[in-house]
Amino acid sequence: MKGYKEIIASYADVPGGIIEAYHAVQKELSYLPEEAIFEAAKVFNIPVSEAYGVATFYSMFSVKPRGKNVIRICESAPCHVAGAAEVVAALERELGICMGESTPDGLFALEFTECVGQCQATPVITINGKPYLNVSPAKVPKILAEYK
């Protein structure tokens, strides 16, 4: 596993590359540790407040530790009317956590998201960016098993 310093350094010459660097750090660590934000500020030569501002502006970035596999549930209108709430309930039940939390074993994080652009087959969830279509409460255990 590459360290955050090494990752951020590899984007130093990319104009405006802080967002790409954050994506790369999250791919390894699942979140942006405070030290990584300080490091990014230094590398991109901006105030820490600004580096932190970028990290907290975008909903895909987390400044708090979270589970390795990030499950995001779309709650936009097309998924809402297709029964997203029941999928939320099933995920919470199956993982024993509430939305916005991570499992104690650090395996899963549960988050809401807005539209992920797979509206031909609602409701939709994504795990680490991979979409799962036409999700029903019955399908949830099998989907989660892929990551256990």
């Binding site: 104009p15 991109f44 502006f57 975008y58 209108a77 539209c115």
Partner: protein, 407 residues
């Protein structure tokens, strides 16, 4: 009745998107060659004459926009593709990029030549990580074939911010900042990315360009409604039999979209409402369904064409519940830069929730209407200006649903 017609999706299912040879075999990159043999002004004039208008939602004449950037004097110009489609219920740009990435690249390269840009970015939403690989592969292939000589094209990822679909917020994001919209003017064609003249067009807009260059402006201008010619890709969601996509000429009516292409409402239920253009679109009642989908025709009924999302609700749906969900969306996605949007979307969600839980009064509906009107002209960018549309249009057309929930 208008028949389906594929321009931007012309290669859908016909080619292997990851093989540039397939694209070339379909006549790909011929338009770029033709464009580069043309005088720049004549090329821009041709695009202008085709009357192609931006498919991202604002509907500005594409050639006109290009001419502003062409005329601007600068040592560096940029071409940017807005691939940040975040309007709920929309996935048309994903379809284009997944199935035919080279048509986008070719369209961007033609634009770059036209305005004199040597650098370009595709800003792809963070929700489409797989597309970043597809686009990078396609760019590499186009480079190897020599199609991108003098044009450096890169892909950048968004990170989950709806507001970045607004072009100046998108530019801020490419620059590595928070995606907050800028004050306009100056507009991007004069001062955009890193302060340089920049053309920002949507994926669907760029995908039209190679065909326009190849077949000519007159051919394109003759398709669909004259004031907004060409085709539009629609994605159908909600209570509709065919939850899929269609590319149709712009003289197609909303009714045709729902009943002819969409196959009507499932389970023998009755139609109640349709929201077009994404979650910021107006809700449209039955009596207005014979409106053509073209930009100005939609504007005339107080609606928008927007992204081309078609979200259908049957008679069993409660409008107030759906709009409350939408109000929550805008509260979450407001970037917070301007007060009317930051405060307005929060209050709008608060009042909608109150109404939805059966605790609201007629006075709340009045307050909502007033708040919505104020937001529509006082918010800084399109997000806040459009956010009240679902609320205002449902109060207008579906008042009974609101009244039924009053204390």
């Amino acid at each position: 009745m208008a028949e389906e017609m594929r321009i931007v999706l012309r290669n859908y299912g016909k080619i292997d998107p990851l093989k540039i040879e397939d694209y070339i075999a379909q006549g790909g990159y011929k338009a770029l060659e033709k464009a580069r043999s043309m005088d720049r002004e004549a090329l821009i004039e041709e695009v202008k004459k085709s009357k192609l208008r931006g498919r991202g939602g604002a509907g500005f004449n594409c050639g006109q926009k290009w001419s502003f950037a062409y005329q601007a004097q600068a040592d560096q110009k940029y071409v940017v593709c807005n691939a940040d489609e975040g309007e709920p219920g929309t996935y048309k740009d994903r379809l284009i990029m997944e199935n035919d990435p080279h048509t986008l690249i070719e369209g961007m390269a033609i634009c770059a030549y036209a305005i004199g840009a040597t650098k370009g970015y595709i800003y792809c939403r963070g929700e489409y990580p797989h597309l970043v690989d597809v686009l990078n592969t396609a760019i590499k292939q186009a480079k190897e074939k020599g199609f991108l000589d003098g044009f450096d094209l890169q892909v950048r990822s968004g990170a989950g911010a709806y507001v970045c679909g607004e072009e100046t917020a998108l530019i801020e994001s490419i620059e590595g900042h928070r995606g907050e919209p800028r004050f306009k003017p100056p507009y991007p064609p004069s001062e955009g990315l890193w302060g340089k003249p920049t053309i920002v067009n949507n994926v669907e807009t760029f995908a039209n360009i190679p065909v326009i260059v190849e077949k000519g402006a007159d051919w394109y201008a003759s398709i669909g409604v004259p004031s907004y010619p060409g085709t539009k890709v629609f994605t159908l969601t909600g209570d509709i039999n065919n939850k899929t996509f269609f590319e149709v000429p712009t003289n197609t009516t909303i009714r045709e979209l729902i009943y002819k292409y969409g196959g009507g409402i499932p389970g023998g239920k009755k139609f109640k409402a349709v929201q077009i253009g994404g979650t910021s679109g107006a809700f449209i009642p039955e009596e207005l369904l014979d409106t053509p989908v073209a930009f100005d025709n939609m504007a005339a009924i107080g609606a928008t064409l927007g992204s081309g999302a078609v979200f259908v609700l049957d008679e069993t749906r409660n409008i107030v519940d759906v709009v409350t969900r939408i109000a929550k969306f805008f509260e979450h996605e407001s970037c917070g830069k301007c007060a009317p949007c930051r405060e307005g979307t929060a209050r709008m969600h608060e009042i909608m929730s109150k109404l939805n839980s059966g605790k609201g009064s007629a006075k709340d509906i009045e307050t909502l209407s007033r708040l919505g009107r104020v937001m529509s002209y006082s918010c800084l960018c399109g997000l806040g200006q459009a956010a009240p549309a679902p609320v205002l249009t449902t109060i207008q057309h579906f008042k009974a649903d609101y009244n039924a929930k009053l204390v």
